[in-house]
Symmetry: C2
Subunit: 389 residues, 2 copies
């Protein structure tokens, strides 16, 4: 009787809003993606009226600008499906093309925006990606805060990870400043980069020191990520003003001042690391050399190293001079990671030659693959354990 | 020359990853939705091969379980479009149906999950929804944290809004505990409810006291929202165990203990408010009466009031007795909001009779519409200014 009444109420509640009704109406019984024990993955889409359904995923080889696709096959009920070969342990992204129209998977609510496109995502564990899972370990706090940047004349949004135990401790913590690439923002590392999961897991295993991770927004014209600023729900674009013209580097002390004024941190060179991917690697390279004796740890992940500084903003000149000073002042770790097929591979090798000539010691990590998040998550997983030891 | 090199580099960077390539390839020139000055909205979808495209939106009348739709029309290039009448100022949600397949809008990256379905969203300002926009006002901090619930034997995730100035002040702040409905979680109020925007804007206008808002997870079997727990990217469901069986209410002191142990708060009855929508209204009703003298402010938003407590869990019995004690102890504000067409309307009127008999004074707010987020955002916008005065 008790159960009966509760069940009737649940039915009532289930029927609540128009939105909830739609939620139920969307074909709740289909599982897609289904990750099998052997790490092959089955995708399913009920589309009886479609003539052609293709799957595109980040594990498929792409040709230049054209992403790879696989044709899905239709059964007698109108269900399209495709089963992959076993996939690597990673966070993977995909979407469907239904008669030429790009569609997300209506049976997978997990989506991540990359620049102006939204992808469905899933995680294949059992390898690298075990670090990307939310495991039963102590979890840090992730906060979205706003700081004043007098240099840019803006109040700006920032994402801050504080490690487990931060709030209840009296200790001072070291800080990793972690910078995104072009088209990214203060959401990139936390969403696509799985930063909080990687740090939680590394710290729980005793493989990384508890540290604060500060994920700033490197587009100096922006207050915040698309949809999170006073510009409203604008359409994101890849090409933004004030990204690689020196503005962000000039304003970086505003961020350090905010962090060191608002968190219990080791406000000294040995307690500061800076790393970034692509444009964020470029920013990290320059910020670490133009503010002397500020960072003891530098990480360049597939860094967008400019082929030629001759015609660039003044802040990007005198590189050798400032790098030589950086060598002289000393750096505990200078870390360079690049994929073999990255189109920036050549520029990174030229940069290594330059460092060699200046006598800068560094760790060099060459990985498979190109300019992809899979590498950047891996680099973070390898770089973080080397910090603050 | 300087510009030329930078542009060449930008092109290179733009072509970076397979994902970025896909981002560009998705038809960047289409604007959808386009919100016009008169608040009519144009939706567009390029689907030359589709035979029929429908639009469904939360502003359309739905019939029982079937959401309303509008037929879109196709031009010679294969672009489907539809223009609405002027819409109300609100956060609106919508999706497309392409030859029967539910699709999100590939030109709108703004998506919110409601239970197991993902909708595109947009905001029409110029009215109520001006409170839902990110305006140029001081912004509070939104943190996702984890707390221990010894009662439930779980470490659980919680969303906490701290008002602008909290970090730099020494003051103690009052706390609003804000609870979600069935199928929701600790993300519901912050995403669909626009809580941080509403509070930022009300506080900036001097209409609400600066307060902390704690958004807990009322599904007592869950560690966290779908995708945010150790269960991984599981498919969300509406019907969860331990939602209305007394477990959450029993564990609520764990949340209060965490908040009062971790934030600078007014840890007294006059500094505590509790409010919730639907199931969260049900939780608020019961939590406020079973912990005597704990809350001075109670808000029931479209509360899922049980028609009959006879056969329910023990925690839901002796309602009159505990309510009478609540009346005797005194409450500064008891607030009830319900929509005229809400299917819970009748039960809320019965509950009002009950309160009248017990001599409990309350503010009663009857709105248009039913059991919808539009009402819950409005209720929060009206309720918050009444607190802690």
């Amino acid at each position: 009787m008790k159960k009966k009444i509760r069940f009737a109420l649940l039915l009532l509640l289930t029927g609540f809003s128009a939105m909830s009704q739609q939620a139920l109406w969307g074909g709740a019984e289909i599982t897609s993606p289904e990750i099998r024990d052997d790490h092959s993955v089955v995708f399913r889409l009920m589309a009886p009226n479609a003539k052609e359904v293709k799957l595109t995923g980040d594990w498929m080889p792409s040709q230049g600008w054209v992403p790879g696709t696989e044709n899905m096959t239709k059964d007698e009920k109108g269900m399209w499906s495709f089963t992959t070969a076993p996939l690597s342990s990673d966070l993977h992204s995909y979407s469907f093309q239904v008669d030429g129209l790009r569609c997300t998977d209506p049976n997978n609510v997990y989506l991540i925006r990359d620049v102006a496109t939204v992808f469905n995502v899933f995680i294949v564990g059992g390898g690298n990606a075990d670090l990307y899972l939310i495991n039963k370990v102590p979890h840090g706090t992730v906060a979205r805060r706003w700081y004043d940047s007098p240099t840019l004349g803006l109040t700006r949004r920032i994402t801050v990870y504080t490690p487990p135990g931060y709030e209840s401790s009296k200790e001072k913590y070291p800080v990793l400043y972690l910078l995104h690439g072009m088209g990214g923002d203060e959401e990139a590392w936390i969403a696509l980069g799985r930063t909080s999961q990687i740090l939680d897991n590394l710290i729980a295993k005793g493989k990384a020191q508890p540290m604060i991770v500060v994920m700033s927004n490197g587009n100096a014209a922006q207050e915040a990520a698309p949809g999170e600023s006073s510009l409203g729900f604008l359409k994101p674009t890849m090409q933004l003003p004030k990204t690689m013209d020196g503005s962000f580097e000039k304003s970086f002390p505003d961020i350090i001042r905010f962090v060191e004024g608002n968190y219990r941190v080791k406000a000294e060179k040995s307690g500061r690391a800076i790393a970034g991917l692509s444009m964020g690697g470029f920013h990290s390279l320059h910020i670490s050399r133009i503010y002397p004796n500020t960072f003891d740890y530098v990480g360049l992940f597939s860094a967008a190293i400019l082929p030629n500084e001759k015609d660039t903003a003044r802040i990007y000149k005198n590189i050798d001079q400032t790098l030589a000073a950086q060598v002289k002042n000393g750096v505990k770790l200078y870390w360079i990671g690049i994929g073999k097929t990255d189109f920036l591979y050549k520029y990174n090798q030229e940069y290594r030659d330059r460092l060699d000539k200046l006598g800068m010691k560094y760790i060099y990590r060459e990985s498979e693959g190109g300019h992809i998040w899979s590498n950047w998550r891996t680099y973070l997983s390898e770089f973080a354990p080397l910090l603050f030891k």
